[in-house]
């Protein structure tokens, strides 16, 4: 505590690891890709393969949430709602109209993106907790409408018999094939995200996250970029939802409870918001944990929750997060900042 400074603070093993990975980024990424691609060939067990497909899907979903929460500082709690829209769009198009995966997947993304736009419009004026509540409300509205609109969505029965993706004469029915399909999509997603974040748009988002006022005074159009950010995040959430539907072959509204949204948020926060690696790490850790704890039966969720709280105590900025980021534990950052009036706008306020 005290007057800690980033540069003089002792470099923790985590920081060292972070610096190391930054140095050999490309080679490490390549090695990781090769390992991930080879695993299903070497290791032949459907159960573990399914878990790995799940992890890969959650990488897309968590990354999409990270785009919103981590890069523009809008705290979205309603990712489950976006997932739900994506999953239902794809599955309804596939079962009712029999459309191909190549069409339904982009459509799922686009429809979700439109909803992302619709959510972002009224929330532009809102900040902080109010924004979070609206997104949370949106998620619940979507779920309840889907659950109750029996004629259109099948209601409580869900959508059954979603066909396996099939295109160019290749069927992705086998877990192996589906695994590679998702892997390719993960790579594309992360690549697109990486490119966007290093473009003008991505920098605009980050400037909004760091300081709205400064950003707008430098000519960043807050409305436009915040809206864009929501749409971008929602698009990939829709893709993730679509993969969800094709993976489980069955969806119902109760797969998209607020708990699901929380699950995704915890992946992002545990991994580290505002980094591309964070959600990937988070997805791996959270999914592995939930599977590893399966034998504990009813104590599983208790232990899982306790572990999340422990993670937050231990490393509030997430595993991959830098300790001097605005999203980090705050002590370093906030100490030197004369931001009292800025905080009082957000936090608490006098009870009347």
């Amino acid at each position: 505590m005290g007057t800690t400074n980033v540069s003089t603070a002792a470099v923790s093993p985590f920081e060292k690891l972070r610096l190391f990975t930054q140095k050999y980024k490309k080679w490490l990424l390549l090695a990781l890709f090769v390992v991930v691609a080879i695993i299903p060939l070497v290791y032949d067990d459907v159960y573990y393969k399914n878990i790995m497909v799940k992890i890969l899907m959650y990488v897309i979903i968590a990354s999409s949430l990270n785009m919103i929460n981590g890069y523009s500082g809008q705290f979205n709690l309603g990712q489950a709602g976006f997932l739900c829209i994506g999953a239902y769009t794809a599955s309804l198009l596939a079962t009712r109209l029999g459309w191909n995966f190549l069409v339904t997947m982009p459509l799922a993304g686009i429809v979700t993106m439109i909803f992302g736009y619709l959510v972002s419009k009224p929330t532009l004026r809102l900040s902080g907790i109010y924004l979070s509540i609206v997104t949370l409300g949106f998620s619940e509205i979507v779920r309840l409408v889907v659950y109750n609109w029996t004629d259109f969505t099948g209601g409580p029965l869900g959508v059954k018999g979603i066909p396996a993706p099939e295109f160019f004469g290749i069927s992705f029915k086998e877990t192996d094939a589906f695994y590679y399909l998702v892997l390719v999509l993960v790579v594309i997603t992360l690549f697109v995200m990486h490119r966007v974040l290093n473009s003008r748009v991505g920098r605009a988002w980050m400037s909004i996250r760091e300081d709205q006022l400064a950003a707008s005074s430098l000519g960043v159009e807050l409305r436009k970029y915040k809206s864009q950010n929501f749409m971008f995040g929602a698009f990939f959430a829709g893709i993730g939802g679509c993969l969800f539907a094709y993976f489980y072959r069955y969806i119902d509204a109760n797969m998209f409870l607020l708990d699901e949204g929380f699950n995704v948020i915890s992946m992002v926060v545990i991994g580290g918001q505002g980094t591309l690696v964070g959600p990937v790490l988070g997805a791996v850790i959270v999914n592995t944990l939930t599977e590893a704890l399966r034998s504990l039966d009813q104590f599983r969720m208790v232990i899982y929750a306790a572990l999340i709280i422990f993670m937050m105590w231990w490393r509030p900025q997430g595993l991959a997060g830098a300790s001097n980021s605005i999203l980090a534990g705050g002590k370093l950052r906030r100490k030197g900042k004369a931001a009292d009036e800025e905080e009082s706008d957000e936090e608490g306020g006098s009870i009347t």
Partner: protein, 290 residues
């Protein structure tokens, strides 16, 4: 039709007053701690279970209310230690995640300890139905409304007339300045959070009486209602959040006259979104109060 509407209005007021009590507690927590809690519903549930076991062993209504109050206050202290204590200065999403996790932990622990099937709540007083101007009012409804009013009045008096209440308000205004004035901020926040949770616990007692059953998933249903009511009231206004709770209760009960019951929760959220579009700081906040 008119009669039915009036009847629904009465039910709405009754349910709304429970929401109002929850919202008052939530306002207290948000005001003093300055961080959002997503485990409030579970604290309400803990209060309900505290009261349920007191009812079973004593059969006394007042003891039950005290039981619920104490159970939630104690669990609120646990919540404070796990989720707030270290993160008062940190960005809000960290404690938010912690409260989410805490809510999950509480819910699952409750399922293990109390069992997940609903428990029938024993009747602790004679429930008589009176008919006034064609509207049926039960003893239960009257008791609920009066308990809420009593607690709201006591709480307001506590906040404005006592030394501890003044300290709480000071901390909610500015933590740094109140520390300079010699207030133990950590302890005050702990007390404020405890009181807020305890009020939620009392609401839990009323809820289990209202639904006549007690189960671990109770919190999930009402937690968001408390949050919504508080946001409607502008997060830090006690009168505002009470009005917010009441209006949500009334709106829900009048709303299901026109649309299917399944959409009941949708009404609340759509109302909230519409309100926030036009009044981004809540419905009952006067301009310039913050």
């Amino acid at each position: 039709m008119v009669n039915y509407a009036l009847q629904q209005l009465m039910n709405g007021i009754c349910q709304g007053s429970i929401y109002a009590l929850m919202a008052i507690g939530y306002t207290m927590i948000y005001g003093v701690v300055g961080l959002v809690s997503f485990s409030y519903g579970e604290l309400v549930m803990i209060g309900g279970f505290g009261a349920y076991y007191t009812f079973v062993y004593s059969g006394n209504f007042f003891l039950g209310v005290i039981g619920g109050f104490m159970a939630s206050a104690v669990w609120g202290i646990v919540l404070y230690i796990l989720c707030y204590k270290r993160f008062l200065e940190a960005p809000r999403h960290i404690s938010m995640i912690c409260t989410f996790a805490f809510s999950m932990m509480t819910k699952n622990l409750a399922q293990i300890v109390f069992g997940s099937e609903p428990k029938a709540v024993p009747s602790v007083f004679e429930n008589v139905t009176y008919t006034i101007l064609g509207i049926r009012i039960t003893t239960l409804q009257m008791i609920i409304i009066s308990v809420v009013i009593v607690f709201a009045i006591c709480f307001t008096l506590f906040l404005t007339k006592t030394r501890a209440g003044t300290m709480l308000r000071a901390v909610s205004q500015n933590k740094k300045a109140s520390a300079l004035m010699g207030i133990n901020v950590q302890r005050t926040v702990l007390i404020g959070n405890g009181i807020g949770c305890a009020l939620g616990g009392v609401a839990g007692v009323l809820l289990i009486l209202y639904y006549a059953s007690c189960y671990p998933n109770l919190g999930q249903l009402v937690g968001n209602k408390a949050l919504t009511s508080t946001v409607l009231g502008g997060l830090v206004s006690i009168a505002g959040s009470a009005l917010g709770g009441l209006s949500i209760g009334i709106l829900e009960n009048l709303g299901i006259m026109f649309i299917p019951v399944g959409f009941r929760d949708v009404i609340t959220f759509i109302f909230l979104v519409i309100v926030l579009i036009f009044r981004p700081k809540g419905l009952f906040v006067r301009k310039g109060t913050r």
